[in-house]
Amino acid sequence: MILETSTLPTQKSKEIAALIETLNQTQKRLEELTAGEVDSIVDREGHAFFLRRAQEELRQSESARQAAILNALPAQVALLDAEGVIISVNESWGQPGTANVLQGPGFGVGQNYIEICEQVMGDCSQEGQAAARGIRQVLEGEAGEFSLEYPCHSPTEKCWFRFTVTPVSSDHLAGAVVMYVNISERMVADEQLRSKTALLEAQLDSTLDGILVVNNEGKMILQNKQMIDLWNQPADIAVEIDHRRRLKWITSQVKNSKKFSERVAQLYARPDEIARDELELINGKYLDRYTAPVIGRDGKHFGRIWVYRDITERRRAAKELDELSIRTARRERLLSTALASMSDFAQIYDQSGHILFVNQPLLDLWGLTLEEVLGKNLSELGYAPELANKLNRQLQSVFETGQEVTDETPYTSPTGATGYYEYIFSPALSAEGKVDFVVGSTRDVTQRKTAEVEIRFNEQRYRSLVQATTAIVWDTPASGEFTAEQPGWTAFTGQSFEELRGWGWLNAIHPEDRAETVRVWSAAIAQGSSYEVEHRMQVPDKTYRNMLVRGVPILGEDGAIRQWIGIHTDITERKKLEHQFLRAQRMESIGTLAGGVAHDLNNILAPILMSIEILKLTTKDPDTTEILKTIETSAKRGADIVRQVLSFARGLESQRIEVQPKHLLGDVESIIKGTFPKNIQFEISVPRDVWTIEGDPTQIHQILLNLSVNARDAMPNGGKLAVIVENCVLDEHYSAMNLQAKAGRYVAINVSDTGSGMPQRIIEKIFEPFFTTKELGKGTGLGLSTVMAIVKSHGGLINVNSEPGKGTTFKVYLPAMGNSSQTPEEDDVSQLPRGNGQTVLVIDDETSILTITGRTLRAFGYKSLTAVDGAEGVAMYAQNANDIAVVVTDMNMPIMNGMATIRALLRMNPMMKIVAASGLNVNGDAEKLAEMGVTNSLVKPYTAEALLSALHQILKTPSNAAGGALHGQ
């Protein structure tokens, strides 16, 4: 307690005054000493005493600072003490124009502001009451602070104020600061914000989106119904102006809360950012969130708008679509891979024939990429116009009819691959059954085709082979019956397919052979072994041929029999030969036997013959003599037969002695006359100076006999048989013509008849052993072959000339004895008559004769022209008529024979000199020729001598009509 100064005892007051003075002096002195640099003094107990100046400063600065702060505030601030009395105010407090509810008289300093507020009347009385209450609460520490916003509009403008009460100190009651802030600007801004979004409000309820606008202070400016529903905001959250609470609730609804809050904070922190993202709520909903700043007309930033859209469905649909497209893509990939791995070429076409798809192998074949072919038609892809048209037509038909089309075609691709392709166009149907598109599948069958072609070629070859072979080739399936046409069999047997099919072919087999055939064939089929049998088969003329049959099974890849292939070979001839061979063997053995028998018989006959001789001598009775003669004849005949048999049995062991032809012929004559039928005329001619033959008389006898017998057999109705013997020199020229002959001297025996003659093809065969034109059993067929053998063994040769209907002449040349006593002078070649350069035309169908004759002529001083047939001869003569001196023509030529040729020549030139060369030595022709005036003739084969002398002869005579003897050299 401080006493008043007047009542203080003097001593105390004096002391106080002195202390104060001391204090003052001290302060002054301290300041001097410290040059004003010291602010305060600190005593021993740590209390600081501010020096005067510092105090002053403090006070000043303190208050100045306070005042500055207070005045700087865009608010009206008043400081109240603990009772609510205004201690101080700032400049703004009480300013006119600041429509302050508590505009009271004066600034109110010293007044109790609580009371002022309570006493406010009028519009703002409620606010006043609230303010008073708030102040009291803060002063009494009941509330940490109080704030109130309220409008206070003037007639001219809208005003809002924010009234706050804040305690001075938080830990003890020391008064409060009340502040009014004019928030009109902000409120106006907020209203602007609201009007700005008013446009949206109209759409808000019609939109499906949830819209929320929050201002910069975190207040929810607006939110539409969808926003509430979208989030399912509970009622208390829905009405919340303070967005922070809502935000907290919203955050709890979101799946990734932390991320969500961070993002939201980020967005609020960057007012200008526009963003869009998606939220997943814990209830499974998906929301699309869009947010943007809200900027006022004046460019000021007011807040942020949030737009939410429910995309749950869309998301689900998208997910399904995703999955679907994944599945589809997978299926497509599978399909593509399958198509690509196919070695076949796949295509897909649309209605207009354009390509929808093509697989890789086909792209490779074309040498194109998928992009290059899509949508194109085949005609644009290098297909030949015809092929493209055909394919397009086929595609169209599939579209129209819904039926698939199969075909094959050769094709060369743009890459140069040539081949054969098989293809199918198949329709792909839509759900309604219409053809949506066509799938083409193409396969390279080039190999198969070439294989087919080869198979066909081989089959062709096989068939040709079959046809070419003279045997019958047949085939059956494994069952062994004929199931297919057998051309060879049909041709051979005359059986038609119907007749031979199945087991019908057995009917062509000789009945006696059928059983065996069936047995062997069935066994072969059963065992799968090869089949061999002989049987007789009937040919269309009803005769049977002997057939050797062989069949083999053809195995398939599995080892089972696929078919039988067989051959029938005609072995009839062979069988005949076999027969004949057997017969010959039989004959031989018989011969041997006969030889023995004959020998015995000979011995038996000899005494008989001898006895007859004796008896002939002793008897004079004519009858007895007659009988004896008969007996002798018989016996002799017997002897002859024996001899013949003997000679045959003995074979051809021969001796070489001098044989007199005369004697030989004598023997033959007697036999012939004795045994031959009477209707055969017999003529024998042997010249006196005939040479002797070096040979075996028996064998030569045999020759004559055989030939004579043949001649006889050729004249069943009679005729003339002539045996003419003559000397013959075969010169080099002749031997050139006739290969069998060695040059030298020969005795020629000509046996000719006027019988039936033989055609050329028989002549070729007559010397073959066993060949006979007679029936089986008549004649051995050995006659002529024996003759040939004998002739050959003598070193001679034999010729035949025959004309059917005219007769036959056999010419046998046997070598003459070397040193015959009757050897005629050797013909000196130089003595042969030569020509004088005359041209001779030689006509003969044998070119060898033409050649030799030509040479001979030229060698002997003639010129020669040759012609190979009558027509050519006539032509040659026509060309060279003046030159040709004489014509030598063969009589026996095909087509235009000698007779016709001669006639033609004589027509051209009646004085023509013609020599007729003929192989036949019989009369018929000679008479005719003589009638025509052709009297010169040559007997074929002719020696050079004969030719030259004939020419010499004819050329000597002035004309050919002059008679000339028949030359026969």
Partner: protein, 93 residues
């Protein structure tokens, strides 16, 4: 690694009075200029912590005490003379 010693200062002030404020400013500037990165300044307000003034036998503000390196030195005033400061702190070159 500086071999120079680290300076430790303690500045006693009385609130926000002018001199005290000036002293603080001057000290800070001085340290920044002459003792970069090797000084420590502790400001003690006697109004807030009167007992510390007693402990250090401080009876005027502003007072600067150099605690390190030894020897301890004491300066009273606004520290407006850098030369004097240098001498007192033994930092003359």
């Amino acid at each position: 690694m500086s071999r120079d010693p680290r300076f430790k200062f303690r500045l006693y002030v009385a609130g926000e009075t002018q001199n005290s404020a000036r002293a603080n400013a001057n000290l800070t500037a001085f340290c920044a200029a002459h003792l970069p990165h090797r000084h420590e300044i502790e400001v003690v307000d006697v109004l807030q912590e009167p007992r510390r003034a007693m402990a250090d036998s401080v009876f005027m503000t502003p007072t600067l005490i150099k605690l390190a390196p030894k020897p301890n030195r004491r300066l009273i005033g606004t520290l407006s003379q850098p030369q004097l400061l240098l001498e007192t702190l033994g930092l003359e070159t």
